[in-house]
Amino acid sequence: MNHPLFKPTEDPLSPREEAEITQELADAYRQNEASEKQPEFRRIVENVRKQIQQENKK
């Protein structure tokens, strides 16, 4: 359990650790930004909406 993101905040990050964290965050950010454009995501959103509407009718 030693990912640099979870080092105690009083321990300074090395440049390599900060670069590693930055890269992982940037990847997660891009992936998340792209998710709304994926057809599978839009289909699931519609599916959830339909299920909610059915729940509300009950």
């Binding site: 359990m1 990912h3 993101l5 979870f6 080092k7 105690p8 905040t9 990050l13 900060e18 930055t22 992982e24 965050l25 940037a26 990847d27 997660a28 950010y29 891009r30 992936q31 998340n32 998710s35 709304e36 599978e40 995501f41 289909r43 699931i44 959103v45 599916n47 959830v48 299920q51 909610i52 729940e55």
Partner: protein, 211 residues
């Protein structure tokens, strides 16, 4: 129960308080953040119960949608009792088992067993699930960060750290001195690590946990 105000706990709070508008916003946001790991979970669990059959895309999407509705409908998830990723895997497993029973369960030769034994057979987390969940958690962390720092600081962090713009470019674009950029990044990185230090992030991040 006192929890840090992070996106993870915010989701639970919105659901618990029956905030309808918040509920509508939060399921969509939750799906944006977690549909990747949910898809990976559903595919992996499907393969486990069917002797490595290829998961049908439409069925997997249907399972993910049902898990999201279940997650927000049921008032069962309590962060103090277990990890979010485990809870989502249990829900996903139950929905996969339901789906396979509706199909012809006996056609799936390698189903481990019928009835309750099948429902209880939760496979080990696959590496793909683990990676996908970690990525979703980091996106949640960015969301939390946005809520906890001034907008201008987040904008600078986003330009330089998330979008890869050079500090000099960011300074020119925003019409500020380079020192403002460096100072903002320094402050944001400290705040980021403070938020990441909350137990819920550490407990959720790692694949196996003693929590």
């Amino acid at each position: 129960m006192s929890l840090p105000i992070t996106s993870l706990s915010l989701l639970s709070r919105l659901r618990d308080e029956g905030d309808h508008a918040g509920w509508q916003v939060s399921w969509k946001r939750f799906l944006e953040l977690y549909h990747g790991p949910l898809m990976a979970m559903a595919a992996s669990i499907y393969r486990h119960h069917t002797g490595n059959a290829v998961p049908p895309q439409e069925a997997i999407e249907d399972v993910v949608a049902t898990v999201v509705v279940d997650f927000f409908k049921r008032d069962r998830y309590d962060p103090e009792r277990g990890r979010l990723r485990t809870y989502l895997r249990v829900l996903t497993n139950a929905r996969i088992v339901d789906m396979l029973r509706k199909e012809k369960p006996l056609d799936h030769e390698s189903m481990t067993a019928g009835g309750d034994a099948l429902a209880e057979s939760l496979p080990a987390e696959s590496p793909e699930e683990g990676r996908s969940f970690q990525q979703a958690l980091l996106a949640t962390l960015i969301e939390d960060l946005r809520e906890h720092i001034p907008l201008r600081q987040f904008e600078i962090f986003e330009m330089v750290k998330l979008k890869g713009m050079s500090p000099d470019q960011a300074a020119a674009e925003l019409g500020v001195h380079r020192g403002v950029i460096d100072n903002s990044i320094y402050k944001v990185m400290i705040r980021l690590r403070e938020i990441a230090a909350s137990p819920e992030y550490q407990e959720e991040y790692y694949e196996s946990s003693s929590f």
